[in-house]
Symmetry: C2
Subunit: 413 residues, 2 copies
């Protein structure tokens, strides 16, 4: 693999034409390989926000006759990207709040079962939410010994799910290693034991095919600010399979979840469909930004994005091995492409000062994850093969020059 080969791949890339939609692509600045943390803004988002401001200004409170449908309509658009038929996805709140709502609803739906199974290596907020619910309900949180680069051992997972398991909560793609689980296989294993599965799709939505309906999935949440490019802290989504919707009740009883909302009746009676998983007034500007951003993803198509993502990560893995392993780094993601998501991690004893040097010298933006990993997330919609090639070259040159490991740890990475 040399730079000319990367250039050839870019010339053949059917998605290359989409890159121009993203503002300030990195011709001169650092190479951005952190779209798995915060995606780039597209021109569509800028236009959507300008339209939203005009709409607010012109129509004032009258805009609500349309805005009120946004959690459902933007949800249906996200649904098309994650394999969910209409009427099963809404966009609202943060991933954390949505995870809380659905995990609590799932636990309450299996009152005779007292165990939640999760991965100790999953993203902190997932573990914390489940710890909080376990403390509040007296359930046991059974954390599997994660941390393996190849992801959770599926046999160990199946062994951990028993007749007392109410809920299994897992990330489709692990936030650190990028290891990817089989949604259909895990769901089936949990269903055999009568448990529900709640998927965290933060690190796959918008890049990796998920196929929730096809997998018979129960519940899912995810953010919209990574591959979906909705903007910092943009509202999250949640999925509930159609036939489960009326069986589940979430704990945050708010007026947007109320049947016949504007009758403002005395007692809370949840809506029959997905609106029962709403709580308060939805964030209109954020929803319109997500809608515009997700439309760009939808136009490119998940199959094409996933095909390119796999080529990007395969290229990255090859380059990590050939160029960075001789310098003391190691691949910290599955070597088997069938077990990988859309990002690749590299471990190094001096990962933190290495990452910081790359950022400060405006060479490469990845992100550091404790204790020793740099994540590299090429976004198939705007990352080129030459970006991946050049990024690894820059990473190698910094290691070759030596990094100072006396630096303090970051406050924010």
């Amino acid at each position: 693999m040399d730079r000319a080969a990367a250039e050839t791949m870019d010339l053949a890339d059917p998605l290359a034409r989409h890159r121009v939609q993203f503002t300030a692509a990195d011709e001169d600045g650092p190479i951005y390989l952190d779209g798995n943390s915060l995606g780039r803004p597209s021109q569509a988002v800028t236009e959507a926000l300008a339209d939203a401001l005009r709409d607010w200004s012109d129509n004032l409170v009258g805009g609500w006759s349309r805005w009120i449908d946004l959690p459902a309509t933007v949800g249906d658009r996200i649904g098309r990207l994650i394999g969910a038929a209409p009427g099963q996805v809404i966009v609202c709140d943060s991933t954390t709040v949505n995870l809380y709502k659905l995990a609590a609803a799932g636990l309450a739906a299996r009152p005779d079962r007292r165990v939640v199974v999760a991965d100790a290596d999953d993203f902190p907020t997932d573990r914390y939410v489940l710890q909080g619910l376990a403390a509040a309900t007296g359930c046991e949180l059974r954390l599997l010994n994660g941390g393996a680069i190849d992801g959770l051992d599926v046999d160990a997972l199946e062994a951990a799910i028993d007749a007392d398991t109410a809920l299994v909560c897992l990330s489709h793609v692990n936030f650190r290693s990028g290891a990817r689980l089989d949604v259909a296989g895990v769901t089936e294993a949990a269903h055999r034991r009568g448990a529900l599965v709640l998927w965290d799709l933060c690190h796959s939505a918008g890049a990796v095919p998920i196929g929730l309906d096809q997998a018979g999935a129960d519940l899912a949440v995810g953010c919209t600010y990574k591959y979906l490019n909705g903007g910092p802290g943009s509202p999250a989504f949640l999925y509930v399979r159609r036939d489960l919707q009326t069986q589940l009740r979430q704990p945050v009883w708010g007026w947007f979840g109320q049947r016949d909302q504007f009758a403002m009746g005395p007692r809370y009676e949840p809506e029959t469909g997905m609106a029962r998983f709403l709580a308060g007034t939805p964030p209109v500007l954020g929803l319109l930004a997500v809608d515009a951003a997700a439309a760009v993803i939808e136009a490119a198509g998940i199959p094409a994005l996933w095909a390119k993502s796999q080529q990007l990560t395969a290229t990255l893995v090859d380059l990590v091995r050939s160029r960075l392993e001789p310098l003391g780094a190691t691949l910290a993601s599955p070597s088997d492409p069938a077990r990988r998501g859309a990002h690749v991690s590299v471990a190094h004893p001096r990962a933190w000062p290495w990452c910081r040097a790359l950022t400060e010298r405006r060479l490469v933006v990845g992100d550091f994850r404790p204790p020793d990993v740099i994540r590299l997330g090429p976004a198939p919609l705007y990352t080129r093969y030459v970006d991946v090639f050049d990024a690894v070259e820059r990473m190698a040159s910094v290691l070759e020059a030596g990094v100072d490991d006396t630096l303090d740890r970051p406050r924010v990475t």
Copy 2:
């Protein structure tokens, strides 16, 4: 009171110069008296969102080194408008979610007490959240028989708070009648019986002085899209008095509430200060819009806004009495200015078709609240005295012409 008198009052209005900051003020369109439902956008918000998009585009994930402080810094700005010293207010989530977090935290802090006292006439989401928490915890929700135009009877309220009361949850200003409670007096009465008070400030923040610290208030929540003009569904705020902060734990354990967040430690340990009341990733674009919008309010100053608001509502009450009561309408707000907030409601047996005719003919935008009320919310920052005068004239002329009461009730009002 005639139109010339209203014009004279506008000429003497020290806040008149602020009106130009609001986009599309209603020279030709309907008169907007629904700023208590959704405030107008100001030029400052448009600029803040343009800046935010540029920042996101230029700095990408690096923007988080600044954005991460927004819940606290925007919270401190809101704090200055509601009488709270720094470090006691954060902006995040929706009012509903914040009410849930704080009501749950308050209940958990008084485990030996099993009663929540609230007003049956308060905004639906408040009642629904408390119903949900009562169902989950087995607490009793003691709803006072609200609905009086002059607001909750304070003697009845005091009698309802007993040694088993954990939490009293009330609106500072009632969403329908505009009746205003005495924050300090109610707080003191609750404290005498050992209960905490959680205030809903949605209908007062940004227009009415609140003085939380001075009142010895415990907890409060509020929205930012009414008088604060933050935009449809903009993020809400919450207040926890400083000395209560470490005593309270909220139920949604997320990574933004975690001490040393980016160490991503195995167990949830809440932050010592206000950050423990955060949950997930905060909505950056929404926060920046709120900050800009609230800065406009801060520049005008709550004392000046409240002085004008009182004059606006007094004018409106006079005009309702002189012009609309002869046509069958009645004042549905306290006649005593000492008991009023910043909006005035008018009842009429045909309130719904009357309100709809006013909107459809582009005459006046108020909002209908079941069963028979039109709310009129003059916003002191951009509503003129002539707007109030003309609005009542237009309302009278529609009643004089007759309204059709066969119309269906609205889906959204």
